[in-house]
């Protein structure tokens, strides 16, 4: 009887916890979708802010949409270029003690708040003489994405069976050939997922771009132009006392969610295609 009770209680607790999570998610997304849809219009998505936009004037958030896309894609690509070799190095070349050290450091970096990355990026800019710009933002967000991406890819690459490596070595492949032709291929779907995770975190982060990317009402045309981003655009709009501007902030939030969601779906489809040859 007691054991049955335990089963029932434990089961209810797990269901309860899962339900709370789903409720919170639905509430957040629901609020943004409902409020955002009311503000969403062609004007909001296609136009840059005109005079008095933050006071309830005309215009849209095209500057922030384009800025965020440039920034998110740029930072994610930059982070990827550093992450993949790092992970492969950890898997095929590095000594065990060093792998442990690097993983610990990355876990610490993962926990560092993005505002600290923002401050670090700002210091870096001062040192190399870069002003607030798209490029500076990309570098800072890439730094912020790195631990997330490396650890995510590392977890997948760790799962690649040792036997696969042995097959490759057995045919006379070098470590480099094995890493690039076998391990990378097997881990490809996971790499896509890791990239996507980092992209989502990067494009949605406000603090790391606060001092580094600048903010402008215009669409950036050059890496050294200042760039607006959706998170900061949302922040500035919500910081005003005007109802109309608040509504548009929800519109911007909806655009941000749609961007992240559609990249996520695209990446998953791509991952499934690329995973065709993966050995189970």
């Amino acid at each position: 009887m007691m054991r049955r009770m335990k089963e029932v209680v434990f089961k209810s607790l797990t269901i309860g916890a899962a339900a709370v999570l789903v409720l919170i998610l639905v509430a957040i997304i629901g609020e943004i979708v409902i409020k955002g849809l009311r503000a969403l219009s062609w004007e909001l998505v296609m136009q840059i802010p005109s005079g008095g936009f933050y006071l309830g004037g005309k215009g849209g958030i095209a500057n922030a949409i384009v800025g965020s896309l440039y920034l998110g894609l740029g930072a994610t690509l930059l982070a990827l270029v550093i992450s993949v070799p790092t992970v492969l190095y950890l898997r095929v070349f590095a000594a065990n003690w060093f792998v442990g050290l690097v993983r610990t450091l990355l876990d610490i970096l993962w926990g560092v708040p993005s505002i600290v990355f923002g401050a670090f990026g700002f210091t870096l800019m001062v040192i190399i003489g870069l002003k607030a710009s798209l490029l500076a933002g990309i570098i800072t967000v890439a730094l912020f994405e790195l631990p997330i991406m490396i650890r995510a890819i590392d977890e997948v690459v760790k799962m690649v069976p040792r036997e696969l490596e042995e097959v490759s070595y057995g045919l006379g492949a070098t470590r480099t050939e094995t890493a690039v032709r076998v391990i990378l291929r097997q881990a490809l779907p996971g790499i896509i997922t890791g990239m996507l995770l980092a992209f989502g975190r990067g494009i949605g982060d406000a603090a790391s771009v606060l001092f580094t990317a600048g903010f402008t009402d215009y669409i950036p045309h050059h890496p050294l132009d200042a760039a607006a981003t959706l998170p900061l655009s949302i922040f500035f709009q919500l910081a005003t006392p005007f109802e109309e501007v608040h509504r548009r902030a929800y519109g911007a939030a909806l655009v941000l969610i749609i961007l992240v969601l559609s990249t996520s779906i695209a990446a998953r489809l791509l991952g499934a295609r690329l995973g065709k040859y993966t050995v189970k």
């Binding site: 057995g170 006379g172 291929r185 050995v279």
Partner: protein, 249 residues
């Protein structure tokens, strides 16, 4: 090609534990040499010395020599990838590389720079030799992981053959296979020994009786008995060999 293997005074330590003791054997060319013995006696370790896959195991120390043809493979400066190209290994568990059937077989030749034009021919020849061509010729672009275990083991064989080795090592190649696939693979080995020096580690004494020309009985890291198959099986010189063979039947 005629490439015998000569193992001379081979000792191997795994950390402080000596796993192979004073191994001295010849494995003749164009023959099947079976290495038999109880689990954990060092059969696989010995096999993995022959293509230096043992180098991948940390904490291993080796002295002694193995000559493959005229090449001393433990001499400093020897290119390990070259040794592994000459000595193919077919493992216990057949494993597909994460790519198509074609690309699995072409993996080795591509490493050695074989051109795009020659590849289809190499792949077809290797698959034919491994007895798999007829079953896969219409789906070379399919993921290799979709093959059955028996087919996969023959794919592993084809993949090994594609780099044109001189020696083929089989590490319990049929232990994961069903009886029909086992018979097929044994038939392939009987064909292959006409060209290659074959060495097979097996737990299955009947299998050794069916296909081996030479037999090596290893026990606790030592070669207890070594000779022609019919001699070892019919009139073993050592007590231990007799009781091991007896227990297996």
């Amino acid at each position: 090609m005629s490439t015998p293997i000569a193992v001379h005074n081979l000792n191997l330590w795994y950390h402080a534990h000596q796993t192979l003791k004073d191994i001295n054997v010849q494995m003749p060319a164009r023959n099947v040499t079976a290495i038999i013995g109880p689990s954990g006696c060092g059969k696989t370790t010995l096999l993995r010395c022959i293509n230096r896959m043992i180098d991948l195991v940390p904490g291993v120390r080796i002295n002694g020599s193995i000559r493959i043809g005229s090449q001393e493979i433990f001499r400093p400066g020897v290119d390990i990838t070259d040794v592994r190209k000459r000595v193919g290994l077919i493992m216990q568990k057949p494993i597909a590389l994460p790519m198509s059937i074609f690309d699995n077989v072409a993996y080795g030749p591509r490493l050695y720079g074989q051109g795009r034009r020659q590849l289809p021919e190499t792949v077809e020849r290797s698959l034919r030799t491994a007895g798999l061509w007829e079953e896969v010729k219409d789906r070379l672009r399919d993921p290799a992981s979709r093959l059955s275990l028996g087919q996969l083991q023959r794919l592993c064989l084809a993949r090994g053959l594609a780099v044109e080795p001189e020696v083929l090592l089989f590490d319990e190649p049929t232990s994961a296979l069903d009886p029909i696939s086992t018979v097929k693979l044994e038939q392939e080995i009987m064909q292959l020994k006409k060209t290659y020096t074959c060495v097979i580690v097996t737990h299955n004494i009947q299998q050794a009786m069916r296909i081996a020309d030479h037999v090596l009985f290893v026990y606790l890291g030592e070669v207890v008995e070594h000779g022609e198959a019919h001699q070892v099986f019919n009139s073993p010189r050592e007590e231990a060999t007799a009781s091991y063979i007896g227990s297996g039947i």
